[in-house]
Symmetry: C2
Subunit: 443 residues, 2 copies
């Protein structure tokens, strides 16, 4: 082995990701040293339970429950505990003791990112977080470095594997949400408490991180509009298919041009299930895979695809960060991140402009379509396509009168206008039921 | 504008890419300064003809024919002239005068990469070349940094837009190569002399660059096995479709495990048209788009998709490199590239192991399949699938006797065994014609 300098690496956490990181650090010692230009010495692993079962065969003497002491004197601290505390305190301790930090903790960064990055700036430390944005998919360096001379216009990301798995199975099997969720839980694709995934919280954290990077701005988590997929049923999937779409839970980060009353640019960051055309590259992201579709002014359309999670996959991203941190330690010099951040305002969901698909059950009578069209037009929502199908009358209640289903595709409309219009439709007397309102994303 | 230090940027070339780079450098001055932490002052643009027409509206006083003088005193030199000389000499001049170099010149790097990188190492300069690998697709930083803690096993790249455009149209229209090539030339998707694209030279240069990066080794261009797409006809495309495949020109870079007689790992780098399953993510890369599919030990399957060429798209990648170079100038410290390179041997094509599809015209007689199967088995080529179809006899020559077409899918076989076996089949007496032999790539 070449005579490299040795860097002391502290690992906090040895769960799904941490145990794989430890394993690879030990197994690929020599190669990692060649990549990093330094020996990466795993000084210890902090956990809650020293005798816990680990996914990899790791030397028992590395384990400790005393994270604070382990951090002291470390050059690189890898935080893979998850959660806010004690992760936050220990990350700040690491930064203030002069270490670089590598973390996969999207919850921590989405809620306390500014505090952590400011602390790092103060002392000239770096925080690396490739694994926090889209698991194993390399997206941070492309956004921060490769596209640094370009302007990102829009990101559409499938950034949660569990929900993509569920929606994909609903799409291929025609099954209902609850059934597929139960299957996914049995197979380990979804957690016993699936809230963070199916309600879009996990995707919202990643959206905040991606938007911050792409637009060189700070996006607080509570500025991210969030809707989950629990309302999606087999009929909506089928109707989407019929119209040439697939439903995906998307994290959309968008740059909005300066406009009337808004002298400066702003951004919109939102997570919701949306219709995506089946020919769009995002439509062919199947199973638990993730993908981030990026539109930039000069580069055009780019897509980054891969595993969004998984212990060993995520460990790959963590180790890439560890090597970067080590190279920086060896090379000397100060950090090479952003110099200045724009602080673009995040607009509320009502200001978003996109296309919609509105599905209504209406009385099957002459003039109904004209009434509906009138309400839409008054509401500044312009119709692109309409499809009307008669619903078979209820055999038990033939006197109830005929119904029809209207599937309306709109041109670009403002969310505020759209939702007010849908309320007026619901109250109009001719609409029996608003079956669904879905946004259409992609071009 | 913040009070940044000013860096002097020299641009060599103002063609398709260079004119867009100059335009963006001037238009996005303020934003680029915020990203880079430095003012990027475009000191001049070297061209052959000062009065040449440019794709962007650029100040005439920036132009010069004296590249050498422009380079002197520059902090960053952007080489977008193309070709080997004078690009090579001027890049070396820039490095030796202490500048960092940004280039999109795949021909130069694939042939003189070692000389240039060695010169840069000597003086502590950096050479950035994102645009030389896959145009606008960010692939260098993911391979060099994000995957630095992982081991790349295999890359399959669609890295030439012209050939992907041609093959895609042949696939969707059932048209023949020559017709689509003529259309592509008329539309500007192919050059008047299409050799570099259709014979795979351009893809081979990119394959050498990608393999060097992925395997941390030096891959000379003449170690890249190269075949073009001029032999692909409508019948081959149709037959591929029938079997569930699409034909793509692939750059394959593969790590081969140590084996009998080969104590160390080796690599294979090859460019050829191959069958790709229609469900593979690479199969949905349409038109002139490019994509690089990467398999890594820990990260699993990743794919990077985008525009492989185009002036403004490529300019995005060039400017990302310029910002990186500027950040490095400001941050100080030495370069952060590879510390040590493995020098893995590149094996000849005969040592490659992959699957094949062999299409034969044979006499339509009992026992022919048994003979063919016997020859394959003797040649250590094991059959996975066989499809036999009777060819309608020639109406003008009914006495000629019946023929049949055999489409044989093999299991993994060694290229050397395969090609010897195909020769033996051709000479066997029962085979009328070897219609095609294509490799099958993917899993
Ligand atoms: N799993 C994935 O696929 C994935 C993907 C991307 C990002 N991430 C992120 O990576 C991080 C780690 O995820 P994970 O799935 O590896 O988590 P995990 O399996 O729950 O493991 C957490 C580890 O941290 C240790 N730990 C927790 N609290 C601690 C404390 N107070 N003091 C000391 N040690 C403590 C645990 O110790 P014990 O073992 O002793 O209980 C355990 O080893 C999270 O931020 C997660 O969001 C995960
Ligand atoms: N075009 C793409 O989409 C693309 C994509 C990826 C990479 N690249 C690479 O980018 C590089 C530039 O490509 P391009 O398409 O922009 O080339 P191009 O359109 O042919 O432009 C070449 C430019 O270099 C100048 N030049 C050539 N020889 C010169 C010399 N001896 N002295 C001074 N100036 C000289 C030319 O000057 P005049 O204008 O006065 O003749 C012209 O402005 C090439 O290495 C190419 O492989 C291109």
């Amino acid at each position: 082995m070449t005579d490299y300098r040795t860097l002391r690496v502290a690992l906090l956490g040895a769960g799904a990701v941490g145990s794989q990181v430890a394993d690879l650090l030990l197994k690929h010692r020599a190669e990692l040293a060649d990549r990093a230009g330094a020996n990466l010495e795993l000084a210890g692993i902090a956990v809650r339970n020293i005798d816990g079962k680990r996914d990899a065969d790791l030397p028992r003497e590395l384990f400790t429950t005393d994270a604070e002491s382990l951090i002291v004197g470390s050059d690189i601290v890898i935080e893979l505990m998850g959660g806010i505390e004690p992760a936050r305190t220990q990350v700040l301790q690491a930064i203030n003791s002069g270490a670089d930090v590598v973390t996969a903790n999207k919850a921590l960064l989405a809620t306390h990112g500014s505090e952590i990055f400011d602390a790092a700036d103060q002392v000239g430390a770096e925080v690396y977080y490739e694994a926090a944005a889209a698991g194993a998919i390399p997206i941070i360096r492309p956004l921060r470095d490769s596209l640094a001379g370009d302007r990102v216009v829009r990101i559409m990301g499938i950034v949660n594997g569990t929900t993509n798995y569920i929606l994909d199975r609903m799409d291929t099997e025609g099954a209902d949400f609850a059934d597929v969720l139960a299957q996914a839980q049995a197979l380990g694709y979804a957690e016993a408490d699936p809230t963070a995934d199916v309600e879009g919280y996990d995707a919202a954290q990643k959206a905040a991180i991606l938007a911050s990077l792409a637009f060189h701005t700070t996006v607080p988590l509570d500025a991210v509009h969030r809707e989950g997929i629990t309302q999606i049923d087999a009929a909506m999937i089928e109707s989407a298919r019929h119209a040439g779409y697939v439903i995906k839970l998307l994290a959309v980060c968008e740059r909005l041009a300066a406009a009337d009353g808004e002298p400066s640019e702003s951004i919109s960051v939102r997570v919701y299930p949306a219709l995506v055309e089946r020919t769009h590259p995002l439509a062919s992201v199947h199973g638990a895979n993730n993908a981030v579709f990026v539109q930039a002014e000069a580069a055009g359309d780019l897509m980054f695809y891969g595993a969004g999670a998984g212990g060993v996959q995520t460990a790959s991203a963590v180790l890439g960060d560890v090597v970067s941190a080590a190279r920086r330690h060896i090379a000397g010099g100060v950090g090479v991140g952003e110099s200045t951040r724009a602080n673009l305002p995040t607009v509320p969901i009502g200001r978003v402009i996109t296309r919609y698909q509105i599905t209504l059950e209406v009385d099957d009578q002459p003039g109904v379509l004209a009434t509906v069209a009138g309400i839409l037009s008054e509401g500044r929502v312009s119709i692109a396509t309409v499809e009307q199908t008669v619903i078979e009358p209820d055999a038990d209640d033939p006197a109830a009168g005929g119904s029809a289903r209207l599937v309306i595709g709109t041109h670009q409309a403002r969310e505020q206008d759209l939702s007010e219009t849908v309320e007026r439709l619901a109250a109009s007397g001719v609409v029996e039921r608003v079956v669904s309102v879905l946004r259409v994303e992609g071009n």
